[in-house]
């Protein structure tokens, strides 16, 4: 039984870029960081399919070897990368609702049962009018076999799994598209955490 009540969540409002989300926070990896470079781009869309121009997307991921820079991840046999926190932020462009994240493709991380999860990015989405943050995951279309075995994806009804899998942009295998529909037709899956 919790002895202290959580401080309630409030909307991030329209002015969050004053305090959070600096201009370069959507670039997670400097040149020295190991791993294959990827770009993730997409739009945040509301229930009518209109772009959300003041959304904040936060990304949290493992490094290319599948280790998180976090005190709880004590697997010292897997190297950490200097200069790679695994955390980044992107604000959507006001006119278009587009966001862009430059990072490296994460390695697989074990699930609680010790099986490897498919490579994925954890995303937190916030926007004006949302009372609470929304938690989702981005999986990769070129990891079909790993996706089929992923513990979290298998909890999602099969007909909705595709909402969590990015698509490959034509012409460049390093660029992935992931649109985040907040509600309505094509709403992506969000998780209770």
């Amino acid at each position: 039984m919790a002895s202290r009540g959580e401080t309630p969540s409030q909307t991030v409002g329209p002015y969050f870029s004053i305090g959070i989300s600096g201009p370069d926070e959507n670039v997670l990896a400097s040149d020295e960081v190991q791993g294959g470079r990827i770009r993730v781009r997409g739009r945040v869309l509301d229930g009518e399919g209109a772009p959300v121009g003041d959304a904040l997307i936060e990304v949290w991921q493992a490094n290319s070897l599948g280790r998180y820079r976090h005190p709880d991840d004590s697997r010292d046999d897997i190297a950490l990368d200097e200069g790679f926190t695994g955390f980044g932020r992107a604000a959507t462009i006001f006119e278009t609702g587009e966001y862009l994240i430059d990072t490296i493709k994460p390695g697989p991380v074990p699930d609680p049962e010790g099986e490897l999860q498919a490579p994925h990015l954890c995303l937190i989405v916030q926007a004006r009018g949302l009372l609470n943050p929304l938690f989702t995951r981005l999986y990769f279309p070129d990891e079909a076999e790993a996706n089929d075995h992923d513990l979290v994806l298998r909890m999602v009804p099969p007909e909705r799994r595709s909402t969590l899998i990015a698509s490959q942009e034509d012409g460049d295998p390093r660029v992935y598209r992931f649109d985040i529909r907040l509600s309505g037709e094509g709403e992506i899956v969000f998780f209770d955490v």
Binding site: A2, S3, R4, G5, E6, T7, P8, S9, Q10, T11, V12, G13, P14, Y15, F16, S17, I18, G19, I20, D54, E58, W60, Y68, H70, P71, D72, D73, S74, R75, F87, F94, V109, P110, D111, P112, Q117, C122, I124, Q126, L131, P133, F135, T136, R137, L151, V152, M155, F191, D192, V193
Partner: protein, 169 residues
């Protein structure tokens, strides 16, 4: 130096068991004392900008889980949500705790503000927990000839295994 009543806002970041959470990134943003944000989308405001006030700050909680900011008290501002709609004075807070589920973005309000009852954002929270967003005047925090003091403890969700962020290692 920024214009407006200088205030100190301090408190502890705690988990639900009341244990302090050291190392938590705490970021804030707010309007200036006239009720204007230094943001291009607040350009229709009739209130002036303060060239000496950016309206943002960040810190990390210390070993006892304590954060502390020195700032100015933000002014209330109109926001066109409904006729004669005004936001009560508030400071936006963002906290990055030890797990995905402890991510918290919220707003801190001031004890005794008569506009709290009129604000749909404050009142979007169930009535029994609205008080958790209100900072209390604390004369022990107030510093002579410098600033008045407010105390506000923040409770975030602690570590726990979750479906989206299974424990690793």
């Amino acid at each position: 130096m920024a214009l407006g009543p200088r205030i100190i806002v301090t408190g502890s970041v705690l988990d639900q068991n009341g244990e302090p959470v050291p190392g938590t990134l705490v970021e804030i943003w707010q309007a200036n004392s006239a009720g204007r944000y230094a943001h291009w989308r607040d350009s229709e405001s009739s209130a002036p900008l303060d060239p000496n006030f950016l309206g943002m700050g960040q810190t990390v909680t210390d070993a006892q889980g304590v954060y502390r900011f020195t700032t100015i008290k933000p002014g209330p501002y109109p926001w066109r949500n409904h006729p004669n709609a005004w936001r009560p004075s508030h400071i936006h807070f963002s906290l990055m705790g030890p797990a995905l589920g402890s991510r918290l973005v919220t707003q801190m309000y001031f004890e005794g503000d008569p506009m709290l009852g009129l604000d749909p954002i404050f009142n979007a929270v169930p009535s029994h927990s609205r008080g958790r967003m209100i900072a209390a005047y604390d004369h022990d925090v107030t510093e002579e000839n410098w600033a008045t003091g407010y105390r506000w403890d923040i409770v975030i969700r602690g570590r726990m295994a979750t479906p989206t962020d299974p424990e690793v290692g």
